[in-house]
Amino acid sequence: MIKLVQNELLKILYSRKLPLIIGLLVVFIGLFAYGEQYTYNVSVQRIEAITGDGTFSWEALAEQEIKDMRRYMNSPYRSEEGKAAYAVEIQQLTYFLERGINPITPGAAKFSTTFADQGLYLLFPLLIIILGADMVSGEFSGRTIKVLMTRAVPRWRILMAKILSLWLMTTLVVAVTALLSLIISGLFFGRWGFDEPVMTGLSFMGGGVDTGAVVQLSRLSYVVLTYALVWFVCLVIGAVTFMVSVLVKSTPAAIGIIMATLIGGQFLQFFLDEWVLVKYFFVTNLNLTQYLTGDYRAVDGLSMGFSVAVLALWGFFSLFVAFLVFNRRDILA
């Protein structure tokens, strides 16, 4: 088995997919990071223009905000949860004040998690598709399938080796994405921000903030958590891609089908409230990091546990179908 896996890994390395993926990442991350830096500079300029004297005193603004929030917290008519929300914000602002950092200053760690949130449902799946779409269909179009099948190796082992190699490569790609997003944005912004406090477990409901399940983490931990979710989602996408690659003998067709599914699935989001079945589609559950940021529209029955379960089931089901079909397939045709 190990030899088989090695073989498959070699195939991927030889196919120059990694340079392509890394190239795409560098381009996108570079663009995003530049965009953020540019927007930040424009905002600072605009504020300086308004305050007139050319010096942008964010400290005064932040201190005023803290004062206002303390006053709200002392009002006897605020709900407990409202007060807790203010307490959280005060804590965060204080952190930035103490270190003399403007809270809107972009930092590498924050960028990399935002990048993950944004890319999770389209960009990252695209990268995984590049990796895995031709794993089986490529053997057919490259006419290497007969060579592969005439070895004295059971079919399931071959498939297993492919799946394992896809797993390993997916893991590496996710890690590389995390690293690249950190490094490139770090170079752009000159700031890492790893020890910034991040409050997660918040949820924004009905205009208010629920802080009941709040956990405070360092931004570094938050990066790890975010990319762990990205990793899980990419594995599931990989499994589905793999299944399609087994079912369809042509790689372009495989890619087309999966991309259409991903993009078309995004439109199905609009029907989440009325059409119950949409919930069970894997595409509508890709956005796992929204449960960490708390920034999500509450849909009845949709929760992190539910989304994870749906994705996991889709993953296993895809692999099961892949094995079934591949084992039965008539290669000689």
Binding site: L13, M169, G201, A228, F232, Y291
Partner: protein, 259 residues
């Protein structure tokens, strides 16, 4: 050979990373599930609170003659008519305490409140009904337009101050019970000039500003309901509401409080 080594390094790195990601994934899953569970809980609690709103048992009425029910042929008044709109079960759970006094101005209501006479009722209030301001306005009767404007401005200012103080007092004793403030209607119909109407609207508007600064409050906009129907909604004295007029107010309150 080097290819083999590269593969080995990559594989080992990938396995190690999988471990890290795996642990991270479960931690993230835990945090995310707590968030969704909390959100679910809060949503359910929210709907429970909404239905349980009126956990008090006393309908407290404050203010002037309209609060007292002057003009009602059946002698019922707003609170009694409101109770009659409820079903048997809800009605038996509520009672009514009326502190309204004919001729009272906002300052009088404030004095009544601050004397502590209403404290006990406020504590057990299901909701609080306030009808005030009409007498303040009525008392303005100057000879010249300029004097009238000055008197109006002063009266409005005093009214807002006293109203805010009253609402604060009520809130200190009962932070949750709903407070309903009746807007002023125009009892003079077409007989009033535009300027007077404008002043009436401004009075209502500024009262609304004061009222909505407090949480859990509502205005009951009577001007629109009464406009054009004065013949049947006003009593014989052409000033206070008739029985039907009070019924319409009670129904308005029922609509606002919901069921």
């Amino acid at each position: 050979m080097e290819r083999r080594l590269l593969i080995l390094i990559l594989s080992v790195t990938a396995l190690g990373l999988s471990l890290v990601f795996g642990v991270g994934f479960f931690q993230a899953l835990q945090i995310g599930s707590n968030t969704s569970k909390r959100e679910q809980m809060v949503r359910e609690a929210g709907s429970a609170v909404a239905t349980d709103e009126r956990s008090g048992t006393v309908i407290v009425t404050l203010g002037d003659s309209i609060g007292a029910g002057v003009g009602d042929e059946a002698g019922l008044g707003i609170d009694e008519r409101y109770l009659s709109l409820l079903d048997q079960a809800e009605r038996s759970a509520l009672s009514s305490e009326n502190f309204a006094v004919s001729g009272a101005e906002t300052s009088d209501m404030r004095t009544t409140l601050q004397s502590g006479a209403v404290d006990l009722a406020l504590k057990d209030a299901a909701f609080i009904l306030i009808s005030i301001g009409g007498n303040n306005l009525n008392r303005i009767n100057e000879t010249s337009a300029a004097l009238e404007m000055a008197a109006y401005d002063e009266a409005l200012k005093a009214h807002r101050e006293n109203l805010a103080a009253s609402l604060t007092y009520i809130r200190e004793r009962n932070p949750l019970a709903h407070i309903l403030v009746l807007g002023l209607y125009n009892p003079y119909g077409n007989r009033r000039d535009d300027q007077a109407l404008r002043l009436l609207h401004r009075w209502n508007y500024e009262t609304r500003e004061t009222v909505t600064a407090f949480e859990g409050t509502n205005m009951v906009p009577l001007y629109d309901i009464y406009e054009g129907h004065l013949d049947r909604l006003l009593s014989i004295d052409r000033f206070h509401p008739s029985g039907e007029g009070y019924q319409v107010i009670a129904e308005g309150i029922d609509g606002i409080l919901g069921r």
